[in-house]
């Protein structure tokens, strides 16, 4: 029954409520005052919006969304994909606001060609998430590289660690995928689930964001009696987004997925804690003679250098160093750069580690604890030589940043907008995907009990779930960064001992691998 019809029905029944009539009559009048404006609003909506769809019997205006995702990067798209993949949340009107032209793509990216230097190492936990939301099969049609082995050592030559997926009974430790492939796969899955996603994507920038200021709990009966239309009342409770193409959107929930310099976070007034590392990272793609099937990481005095397989004979280099050095390396000739990379991975800065008698002793000592990991017995290997650098070298500064709050009323932050970590363990985007999965689940739980999913008490559950895990990871990585940035004799030996421990103490090694793979939520003692 429409409100006006209901009002008149109530009036006609007015005779039958003698006992409560002295409470009801004024109410009925108030109710009657409202309907004409409600009716006008309804009529206005009906005539002006030809393309408004009927959603469950109620007219849904095209400028009203349930969830507005600001930022169409990997994590933003993952949130959208996860929501459209669950029965409970499929029907929600989701919009993605990002002016990146890559969001127009509707095809697989070609496998030939030079791999992009912006890649991510996705952990098995992330791969399961992608499988669940149906995006992994699209990744498999595009370039990607699984790796089952990893070697970590440093410049002192005092120790090394080799990890293998077989240590924990798995087939792979992770998969290296270009960021554009991840984005494209999520986009293709969205397209599959939603038909035409043109309506979902707003290829513009967000200019301003206004959160509802007054709380709904204050009775706005004054508002009702002073003739506010239902539409105005309704909009006063939503977030208002103004876009650069002049559109104005209203949404029940805004998801801030716009990266570490998040405007959404700034507008909401959420503070962060963090510091800049005195380091920048250089990334590029290099080529080898044969395929690389192992992930290599060497800690150097100024920062770690990592060599990650990306597929075919290519590898991705992530080299962390001081900002001045990174500028120098960015501008030197490609041949010099290749020499520099090979040097850094080989004899540069220090000797190769070798197994000494202490190592044999440790191996024997700890072989009784649990089952020995297969990689314990593996010897140190020198990484494959790079024969040329095939992509542009990019440099960017590194920092740690963590938001004090992940949520506020009608807002949730995910991915780098909530937390930025050091790239030394390739964990950053995996934390973001963890956020996306957790947020989607919390929203689904909210829908299942008919809650208003912009309500902060619901969103707090997402924050409680993710914050602790993200802070722990950020702290671990920060710890590593700090420990490895000091060249000090006794500390070097301590680090070496740690390497040895990680190499020869199998339960510890398995624990480290599981944590890095995303199988366990907490490092150690889980």
């Amino acid at each position: 029954m429409t409100p006006p019809a209901r009002a008149s029905a109530l009036l006609s029944r007015g005779r039958c409520f003698p006992a409560a009539s002295r409470f009801r009559r004024p109410l009925v009048r108030a109710f009657c005052d409202a309907p004409p404006s409600l009716q006008d609003a309804a009529a206005g909506v009906a005539s002006s919006q030809d393309q408004s769809e009927k959603v469950d019997g109620m007219k849904a205006r095209p400028d009203e969304l349930d969830i507005a995702i600001v930022g169409g990067g990997m994590v933003g798209l993952a949130v959208a994909c996860a929501l459209s993949n669950m029965l409970l949340t499929k029907h929600l009107r989701v919009g993605i606001i990002d002016s990146n032209p890559a969001l127009k793509s509707r095809n697989y990216l070609k496998k030939d060609g030079i791999p992009d230097s912006r890649v991510s190492t996705v952990t098995p936990a992330t791969i399961s998430f992608f499988r669940e939301i149906g995006a992994w099969e699209h990744v498999q049609y595009q370039r990607h590289a699984f790796f089952g082995k990893m070697q970590v050592w440093d410049y002192t030559g005092l120790g090394y660690t080799r990890y293998s997926a077989r240590d924990v009974g798995k087939e792979y430790l992770g998969c290296v995928v270009e960021n554009k492939v991840l984005c494209n796969s999520l986009l293709l899955r969205l397209q599959e689930e939603n038909g035409d996603i043109e309506k979902m994507i707003y290829p513009t920038r967000l200019i301003s964001l206004a959160f509802p200021s007054k709380s709904r709990q204050a009775p706005t009966s004054a508002a009702v009696s002073s003739g506010y239309t239902s539409e105005e009342l309704h909009h006063s409770n939503l977030v208002k987004l103004e876009l650069s193409d002049g559109q104005t959107l209203y949404s029940k929930l805004v998801v801030g997925a716009d990266g570490s310099k998040s405007n959404v976070r700034r507008t909401a007034g959420i503070k962060t804690t963090g510091w800049n590392y005195p380091q920048s990272a250089i990334i590029c793609t290099v080529e080898h003679i044969t395929e690389n099937d192992c992930a290599w990481q060497r800690f150097l005095p100024c920062g770690p250098i990592a060599l990650l397989p990306i597929g075919d004979n290519f590898s991705n280099v992530v080299w962390t160093m001081s900002p001045e050095e990174s500028l120098r390396h960015k501008s030197m000739s490609p041949e010099d750069f290749v020499k520099s990379v090979n040097n850094a991975l080989d004899f540069g800065y220090g000797p190769h580690p070798h197994s000494g008698s202490l190592d044999y002793y440790m191996e024997k000592l700890f072989s009784d604890i649990g089952s020995t990991a297969a990689s314990t017995k593996e010897c140190f290997e020198v990484p494959p030589k790079a024969i040329g650098v095939v992509s542009e070298r990019m440099a960017f500064p590194l920092s740690l940043k963590h938001s004090h709050d992940y949520v506020s009323k009608r807002l949730a932050l995910v991915g780098d907008a909530a937390h930025t970590v050091h790239p030394l363990a390739g964990q950053g985007v995996n934390l973001g995907f963890g956020d996306a999965a957790a947020l989607a689940k919390v929203i689904a739980d909210g829908v299942s009990v008919g809650a208003d999913f912009g309500d902060i008490s619901l969103l707090k559950r997402y924050e409680n779930d993710r914050k602790a895990a993200n802070v722990a990871m950020a702290a671990v990585l920060d710890g590593f960064q700090k420990i490895y940035s000091v060249d000090f004799g006794p500390l070097n030996v301590l680090r070496a001992a740690a390497f040895h421990g990680a190499q020869y103490i199998s339960p510890l090694k398995k624990n480290i691998i599981s944590y890095a793979m995303g199988d366990t939520k907490w490092p150690l003692f889980s």
């Binding site: 409470f23 029965l87 409970l88 709990q217 409770n237 008919g450």
Partner: protein, 301 residues
């Protein structure tokens, strides 16, 4: 004894005696706890449906008393307690403040809704994975207060009517519901269950949570709720026991007072007082009940 109960039951603490206030002198006895094997299978099934993380319930529940006393000649007289009405009216603004005096209700709400959703889906054979499983059902929330329960039910697709005897609550509820298009269709009326019965109104599901403890005549109240339910409909009642030992409180949700099937009283294993009341109702109104399910929702862990 508690150890022999299932794990979820084990943590639900049955309160000991508490007379329902204003019960008019009805004596409620304290049955002992019964071993798990004596419980009907529905109870065991249902007990796994509920667990909640909410903190201890609070002080007085905010719904006003609703039921009329039955006078000797059988005619009903409305017995709203003006003092109670005034007390609740005074804090009506804080209904929707999730950190205010109604905080425990807000915290408990998802659990209650999850329970109601799963049981109504089962009863009306709806798909529990649907986003609007209660579509097409006429539901009434008796003692709706500010609409904390009515709004989520509307979002789940039900056609909701909310009634309350405190006018201020109805006003607050209307304004709050109007600001969200998914809840703007809720019909709020300031009236009583008995009045609606006189109108011969009927609903597919009649829900009255945390009201019965305020009612002067719980038996009459249950009778009214039953009369408001269509045949093969569902009635859901819950109450929090407010005894001194309420720190270890269990919420008992009595479910499914349907209109047929005979019930053997000795087969009902209820924590009282609700069980006692319901068994009296069942006998008195001469109706047959299809199935009883009890569930203990532990409001905190």
């Amino acid at each position: 004894m508690l150890r022999r109960l299932g794990p979820s039951l084990r943590r639900a603490l049955l309160t000991s005696s508490s007379a329902v206030p204003g019960c008019g002198g009805v004596q409620l006895t304290e049955p002992g706890l019964l071993p798990l094997h004596a419980l009907p299978p529905q109870w065991r099934l249902c007990s796994s449906a509920a667990s909640s993380n909410s903190p201890p319930p609070p002080p007085p529940h905010p719904s006003p008393s609703q039921g009329p006393k039955r006078s000797a000649d059988g005619s009903t007289v409305s017995s709203l307690n003006p003092a109670e009405v005034a007390k609740f009216a005074a804090i009506a603004e804080t209904w929707w403040d999730s950190e205010g005096p109604f905080k425990p209700l807000h915290v408990m709400n998802p659990t209650r809704l999850s329970f109601i959703r799963s049981t109504l889906c089962r009863h009306f054979r709806r798909d529990p994975n649907s986003s609007k499983p209660l579509e097409g059902l006429k539901v009434i929330d008796v003692g709706c207060g500010g609409g904390i329960l009515a709004e989520p039910l509307a979002r789940m697709g039900a056609t909701v009517t909310g009634i309350d005897a405190v006018d201020k609550n109805i006003k607050i509820a209307r304004v709050h519901a109007a600001s969200d298009s998914s809840t703007a269709s809720i019909e709020y009326v300031c009236t009583t269950a008995e009045d609606l019965v006189k109108e011969h109104k009927q609903f597919d599901a009649v829900i009255s949570l945390e009201v019965i403890e305020h009612v002067a005549n719980p038996l009459g109240f249950c009778e009214s709720l039953s009369a408001l339910t269509v045949p093969n409909g569902a009635t859901v009642i819950s109450t929090i026991n407010r005894s001194m030992r309420a720190y270890a409180t269990a919420i008992v949700a009595a479910e499914y007072i349907l209109n047929w099937v005979s019930l053997c009283p000795s087969c009902i294993f209820w924590p009282h007082p609700l069980r006692y009341i319901l068994s009296c109702v069942v006998h008195w109104v001469g109706e047959k009940c299809h199935s009883f399910m009890a569930s203990f929702l532990e409001p905190f862990r």
